[in-house]
């Protein structure tokens, strides 16, 4: 059969963000008439499980591969194997430290989190205490968003203090617990940044449960609950990436590579800050998912 098969190995599967990436990939698959599969480990620590997935994908002699590396070095032998077999590799979500991927469809998480820091500073008036509820201490996105935010505050806003950074594994319930403890321990807190959907929703839940008012909450990604919180004014705003675009661009780039086209090194799918004022703008609405 001459069906074109492109497996995508992602960093995760069950979370909304990855589901949106999958959605974009499926759109492109339909458009370009290729078959894709989409798989990722249970959480972003399972580097070796991702290797197993990559190996299984290679066993199916795919036309091309999309790959979001949990650890870029660990994957190199398998990527080399793909390269030797003449299988083009497109990276997505975060880069691979190697010249094997022909292109990378990604968001600049550091810059996006820095934008969140700027908005936070603006909303709390340039001074006060802020906290971060992050989703992961060791994953690339977790580190980039945390550091992007914290470093920007440190560089640009000397009167703002990041009092604590805690982690909730992106799990809604655990993030709620974490945010509750932060709010209770820091009665003077001016703002909290939640670094992914689960973290952000956790902060919103905690504020609701404690009846906290006046704390500026900035989130990340979208999802129905987060959009609702922004509309209701509980959350000031959030950064959104373009996950559907990431998925779409990854498959499109793979198809282009199969057709022998030249690809840019980075396909920046972009990020936006959205709040109640622009949430319904067509440009924003296009990259939100629920």
């Amino acid at each position: 059969q001459d069906e074109i098969y492109i497996p995508l190995i992602s960093k995760g599967f069950q979370h909304q963000f990855w589901q949106a990436v999958q959605l974009g990939a499926e759109r492109a698959a339909e458009e370009f008439d290729v078959r894709i599969t989409f798989e990722g480990p249970d959480n972003e620590t399972m580097v070796d499980r991702q290797m197993d997935m990559l190996a299984a994908a290679l066993a199916n002699n795919p036309a091309a591969i999309g790959f979001a590396a949990l650890d870029s070095q660990a994957a190199i032998p398998l990527l080399r194997q793909a390269n030797e077999a003449g299988i083009p590799v497109i990276a997505f979500d975060s880069g691979v430290d190697s010249d094997i991927p022909l292109s990378t469809a990604t968001t600049d998480n550091v810059a996006a989190a820095a934008l969140a820091a700027d908005r936070m500073a603006e909303l709390i008036g340039g001074s006060g205490q802020v906290a971060v509820v992050a989703h992961d201490q060791t994953s690339r996105t977790g580190i980039d968003r945390r550091d992007g935010f914290v470093n920007r505050i440190a560089e640009a806003y000397p009167d703002i203090e990041v009092v604590t950074i805690q982690y909730g594994q992106g799990d809604h319930l655990r993030s709620t617990e974490v945010a509750t403890a932060i709010l209770i321990a820091n009665p003077d807190l001016a703002g909290i940044f939640g670094t992914n959907e689960g973290s952000a929703i956790g902060v919103v839940n905690a504020a609701n449960e404690l009846g906290t008012e006046g704390v500026v909450i900035i989130g990340y990604d979208s999802g129905a609950a987060q959009m609702q919180a922004i509309r209701d004014g509980v959350m000031a705003g959030a950064i959104t990436q373009n996950p559907v675009g990431i998925g779409y661009e990854t498959v499109r780039a793979a198809v282009a590579a199969l057709n022998g086209e030249e690809l840019p090194e980075i396909i920046d799918t972009g990020f936006y800050y959205y709040d109640a004022s622009n949430i319904d703008d067509p440009e924003i609405a296009a990259v939100l998912y629920d």
């Binding site: 069950q14 909304q16 809604h172 319930l173 617990e177 403890a181 209770i184 321990a185 129905a224 609950a225």
Partner: protein
């Protein structure tokens, strides 16, 4: 396991059935009080009403799961599926309430019924197919995890169309009456579930068989009891309780999160064991489990309020869990 622990003649018994229990309960309780006092000194923000409520609220879901796990563990089994079963039941509630738009009561009953049914499946695997509880419930855990994703279409189901759904856990009936005591309903439900389970254990035939099966299943069988049927009933009851946990977490998050749940089983079992229930079966108390769940909730919350660095939180939690159980051990020996 059971042989080893059963037989140390020096180790005193910890059964609910016996009489020496009140003493033992007091001891696990002492560890909890010590933690509370310690954290109060360490952080002035710890001992606020709002934080105490937050701790209770955070103990509620794990507490209910731990109660379910306790029943199965006393029979000498284990239930790894409590976490994903909770999620599955939450998803079922979401389908009934949001997708089908049926009334609240139907959703609640549906979730609890689904839990009981899944529990019955596990029970059937264990009894009729003779599969070790570990494998039977591991298999259920995986199947339920997948099914939750499939049924929900891998996305959260929100309960926005069911007004008052979030009040099931977050509201406070007690607070409405006594404003100084804003105990969330979720906590009230935990205590009700615990009281009911405790009642079942001590006052009903089912409870008697739970202990008897864990002590010596063969002896129960030789006494002419249909052990399979009772065991299936116990797993079903545990499943129904997981259904209640599913309602609780769905209400608290105002959504059914299909991806959540794995990993919760270990926390629930930890609460059970910290509470003095033996994994070998035959002995255990719901009150102990409740205290175990509270110890874990206080510990996590306290370290977070103290803003201990995350990696150290983990280390300290591990150490304190060991020490709390050790303290129990030496006090019991005296």
């Amino acid at each position: 396991m059971s042989l080893a622990t059963d037989q140390k003649p020096a180790a005193p018994a910890t059964s609910t059935v016996g009489g020496a229990v009140a003493y033992q309960r007091l001891l696990a309780f002492a560890s909890l009080v010590a933690l509370l006092i310690g954290f109060s000194f360490a952080s002035s923000n710890f001992m606020q009403t709002s934080n105490m409520m937050a701790i209770l609220q955070s103990a509620s879901v794990n507490g209910v799961l731990a109660v379910a796990a306790t029943l199965v563990i006393i029979t000498g089994g284990i239930d790894l599926s409590v976490g994903t079963l909770m999620t599955f039941c939450a998803v079922i509630a979401g389908v009934i309430l949001t997708k089908m738009g049926l009334p609240l009561m139907v959703g609640v009953i549906g979730a609890i019924g689904a839990g009981a049914l899944c529990g019955l499946c596990s029970g059937t695997f264990v009894t009729k197919m003779n599969i070790p509880p570990f494998i039977a419930t591991l298999g259920m855990m995986l199947m339920l995890k997948g099914l939750s994703l499939i049924i929900s279409g891998t996305r959260p189901i929100y309960f926005n169309d069911t007004p008052g759904f979030d009040q099931i856990s977050r509201g406070s009936i007690i607070g409405d009456i006594i404003p100084a005591l804003p105990v969330p309903n979720g906590v009230l439900i935990l205590f009700l579930v615990a009281a009911a389970a405790s009642f079942v254990l001590s006052r009903t035939v089912l409870g008697r068989y739970i202990f008897a099966l864990g002590s010596n299943e063969e002896a129960v069988r030789l006494s002419g009891v249909n052990t399979d049927r009772w065991k299936m009933a116990i797993y079903a009851l545990a499943g129904a309780i997981c259904g209640i946990a599913g309602i609780l977490i769905a209400s608290r998050l105002n959504s059914a999160q299909p991806a959540l749940g794995q990993g919760y089983e270990l926390e629930a079992i930890a609460a059970v064991v910290i509470g003095g229930t033996s994994l070998a079966g035959g002995r255990g108390t719901i009150l102990g489990t409740l205290i175990g769940a509270l110890i874990m909730a206080v510990l996590t919350n306290g370290l977070r309020v103290m803003a201990v660095a995350q990696e150290w939180q983990t280390v300290v939690t591990g150490a304190i869990i060991i020490l709390a159980v050790y303290a129990d051990m030496i006090r019991q020996k005296k």
